[in-house]
Amino acid sequence: MARAVSNRTKVANTAIAGALGFLMFFPILWILVLAFKTEEDAIRAPLEVLFGSGWTMESFATVQARSDYFKHFSNSVIISLGSTFLGLLVAIPAAWSMAFVPSKHTRNVLMWMLSTKMLPPVGVLVPIYLIFRDLELLDSRFGLTIVLMLINLPIIIWMLYTYFKEIPGEILEAARMDGATLRAEILYVLTPMAIPGMASTVLLNIILAWNEAFWTINLTASNAAPLTQFITSYSSPEGLFYAKLSAASVMAIAPILIMGWFSQKQLVRGLTFGAVK
């Protein structure tokens, strides 16, 4: 910013933005608080919850005793990382060719790819379920990884395509003049330049895969069940359950929230979808 900004404006901005941030963050903050309360305290009036009661880890212990958190957690990690990795393998060449060897169909192909995401999953669940049954992929991490890779593939391709497009073609041509092969071109010229973009693509896809709650619940039973299923075990009340639900929710969203926290800069800078010229 070229302009000198008075501290007073800065304070005012901070106050307004801080209020917005607090409002948006409050629900998450609140489950974070309730997760460390006893069930009886968790349903008291908000001020009493905050100031009039003690803290406890009890709910986490109850949740862990009832469902194996680490199994669900590792399934979530494997499925979301795996699907993102496989997605990149397929998407990088596709995005490369669309960005650097565009044809008159490029835009249509891109739009068609995005439109496959408009297939309502509930409409095709039964066919997919039958196919999975016959291929013995039900309740397998592999099957789920493939499905999540496919549903997020259009987004990965589009994001990569927009990043690749921003890379000036002259650099590639220069490399080609120097006799670089296609493989070398992608590996040594293109990839390093696209790393920031790829990083945010990867981040966004991990988030989408981690939070996907339709296929992950319907195609798994126990062995491949990720955290989305873990949370459904706590979704209907059983007596007082706010603390348990909060603890389970915190356990389900904490990993991705922490990841988001650390990669916040990448995300803010990188999520352009070609929105910036």
């Binding site: 409409g123 939070n211 010229k277």
Partner: protein
Amino acid sequence: MATKASRSAARLMISPAVLLLLGWMLVPLCLTIYFSFLRYNLLQIGETPFAGWENYYWFVTDPSFNAAIKNTLVLVGGVLAITTIGGLFAAILLDRPMFGTGIIRIMVIAPFFVMPTVSALVWKNMFMNPVNGIFGRIATSLGFQPIDFFGQIPLASIIMIVSWTWLPFATLILLTALQSLDQEQLEAAEMDGAGWWSRFWFIMLPHLARAITVVILIQTIFLLSIFAEILVTTNGGPGTATTNLTYLIYVSSLLQFDVGMGSAGGVIAIILANIVAIFLMRMIGKNLDA
């Protein structure tokens, strides 16, 4: 720069993605179309005879069908309006100089990381529950009758929950776009005596047009198939007040287990989604040309 060799290489490189997506689209699509012409209910064993257009007839004449179409549009439109306009203001706000930028930004974008089931559960129980929820508590302590969110304003409540998730996404993209705005242009306009409003209207908004397009496009894709939030909070009710097309298909194919009718609904939803898609692309697609 495209030589013949690089063209064929390009075709080779794009083919895995195209083939995979084609398979992913065609196989279930063909099966869905096939099922949609069968009398096929999972709960009834035995034959699945050819049914002609029967399933389509039953789906379209379903008493919930019109409501589902209307609710889908209101839901998508409502969330888009809230997130785009809200996101615009949030982005402008966050782009200003302030203390603790990093922490405030992460707080604003945090909801995007929360899985839909969790956010629906948390809103439903801890906030919108009229007896023990925070909103109810506050209303009662101020002497008001607490609002029964899912009874009185069900669709608005769902729009609110979904917007909470997607507002950060819109903010993120608009913020990125805003940061690329040429500050000197803004300053020059300010020197010329342009007020905040005209600077917003004539400089910022045109600059953000492309980003807004992207927000609308991406969100529409996800919002058309909103499901978890409805399943967890209202189950499509009361009545059909929150039944969208996705949920109606869920009811037919997975609650009534009428796969034939559910598939007919799926085909209809695909057609409608594609109409929306074509409409969207026509309207805003040119914005995306680089």
